[in-house]
């Protein structure tokens, strides 16, 4: 079943065309990796999905709800209520975590449960503790983000996103702000989520990792999807010259 459908999405910043007609679908339980050189529009694509940016034209559908679609040259966004529903379907884990520095780890994870999902405090705390345990952070619930290592902060931010029980979890270079050894921790967490059949979109520069976890890989360049396919095919026998060139740089 298709959870996200993106059709011909276009997005410019002033004169700069950042997304120049992107289409893809994401199915339930699927892990999609997006790779590509810096500036190719990967982050912008995730930001459009999570409503941090507005698209200029095209169509985005999430869990059978239309978020935005072009009609007669103008873009039409859904009403506020639908947009909010859609927002809750998609979790986003930021590159630089964006944890709330003034809240304890526990409160970072419960805040939205209580204030957005209107769960009781007790329920929220229970969910948070469960997620912290899963992330191996049982003992950190009273700590503040500044006292955690980068890897721990990233795990908290994953727990924060998971606490809202999203249908899809999006990652924007989840390890780029981490030390190499910490990277490994996070990649393991994401792998575990993949095993649990969590639907995910992962923007990453870690080719080995993308190959390892993905069901499908998209290679983007200059605002377009250059090539798309299962990791085996895309990494071992890329069809396009651009993809080959990009991957060869990582071959060393």
């Amino acid at each position: 079943m298709s959870i996200i459908t993106v059709e011909n999405v276009v997005k410019s910043f002033d004169a700069l065309g950042v997304l120049r007609g992107i289409s893809f679908t994401l199915n339930e339980g699927e892990v999609l990796s997006i790779i590509g050189p810096s500036g190719s529009g990967k982050s912008t694509l995730l930001r459009c999905l999570t409503q941090l940016e507005r698209i200029d034209s095209g169509r985005i559908e999430v869990c059978s709800m239309t978020m935005a679609h072009s009609t007669g040259g103008t873009i039409q966004y859904a009403d506020a209520k639908t947009l909010k529903q859609i927002r809750l379907k998609l979790g986003l884990v930021f590159q630089n975590f964006n944890l709330f520095p003034h809240m304890s780890v526990l409160r970072n994870i419960t805040e939205a449960q209580v204030n957005v999902l209107a769960k009781s405090k007790g329920e929220a705390v229970a969910t948070a503790r469960q997620l912290l345990a899963k992330m191996g952070l049982e003992e950190k619930e009273d700590a503040y983000p500044c006292h955690l290592s980068g890897g721990q902060q990233q795990r908290v931010s994953i727990a924060r996103a998971l606490a809202l029980n999203p249908t899809v979890l999006c990652f924007d270079e989840p390890t780029s702000a981490l030390d190499p050894e910490l990277t490994i921790e996070i990649l393991k967490v994401i792998k575990d989520l993949a095993k649990e059949k969590m639907t995910m979109i992962v923007v990453t520069h870690e080719m080995a990792f993308a190959r390892d976890i993905s069901d499908r890989v998209i290679f983007m360049d200059e605002g377009l999807i250059v090539e798309e396919g299962p990791p085996d095919v895309l990494f071992n026998a890329p069809a396009k010259e651009r993809t080959q060139r990009f991957l060869s740089r990582y071959g060393q």
């Binding site: 927002r87 979790g91 930021f94 003034h102 983000p145 500044c146």
Partner: protein, 211 residues
């Protein structure tokens, strides 16, 4: 000398009244002003900007004279001098506070807004629960400086005849032919400022549990 201290204490009470009332009104008013300054409506933001520029660009002593005498010359209305002092200080300090608040809000990384948005928080909830608490922490040092300046600026209230600490000390000094009252007043200001910095330091430490 026996009678000096009670006199100076009475002046200190007036000084403290000015101090407390000014903070009481200018701290929230500054928030409103900051809001207006950041408004997308160009008329509102321009008007507020001019107001801030005047408040910051002219001596407070001159503003006090206007606030007290202006209404009469303009509308024939007059009012209580103490009220005028409070109004003068409040509109002056609100302008300074507004600029501090604005700097604070703009220093919060955009990522905090984005994370809140993605988690589904309303704008109001984001502002009150995510942004403001962080702004408070960031602006404490600047606010501390401004509040210390206020302690000293209260000495200007005498311009329109309010008998605060410095006025009382100067009169006593003239009467007694000695600078002792002024030295003591200096000590009082020093102590008040000491207390203010101590409070701000403590507040800053209290918020030191995160950064």
């Amino acid at each position: 000398m026996r009678n000096l201290l009670p006199l100076l204490l009475a002046g200190t009470i007036t000084t403290l009244k000015i101090f407390v009332l000014t903070l009481l009104f200018s701290i929230p008013l500054g928030a409103l002003v900051a809001r207006g300054r950041m408004s997308k409506n160009p008329i509102v933001s321009t008007v507020i900007n001019i107001y801030i520029m005047i408040m910051r660009g002219t001596p407070l002593i001159l503003q006090l004279l206007f606030v007290y005498f202006g209404p009469y010359y303009l509308f024939g209305a007059s009012y209580d001098r103490f009220t005028a002092v409070i109004i003068g200080f409040v509109i002056n300090y609100a302008a300074y506070f507004a600029e501090i608040y604005r700097g604070g809000v703009q220093s919060i990384p955009i990522g905090q807004w984005e994370a809140s948005l993605v988690l589904g928080f309303s704008r109001a909830h984001t502002f009150t629960h995510v942004i403001v608490p962080q702004v408070v922490k960031r602006i404490i040092p600047a606010m501390g400086n401004e509040v210390i300046t206020l302690v000293k600026d209260t000495a200007l209230a005498q311009t329109i005849g309010v008998a605060e600490l410095f006025r009382v000390a100067q009169s006593a000094s003239a009467r007694q032919f000695s600078t002792t009252p002024i030295v003591i007043a200096g000590l009082f200001y020093f102590i008040m400022n000491g207390v203010v910095s101590r409070l701000f330091d403590r507040f800053e430490k209290k918020l030191d549990y995160y950064h």
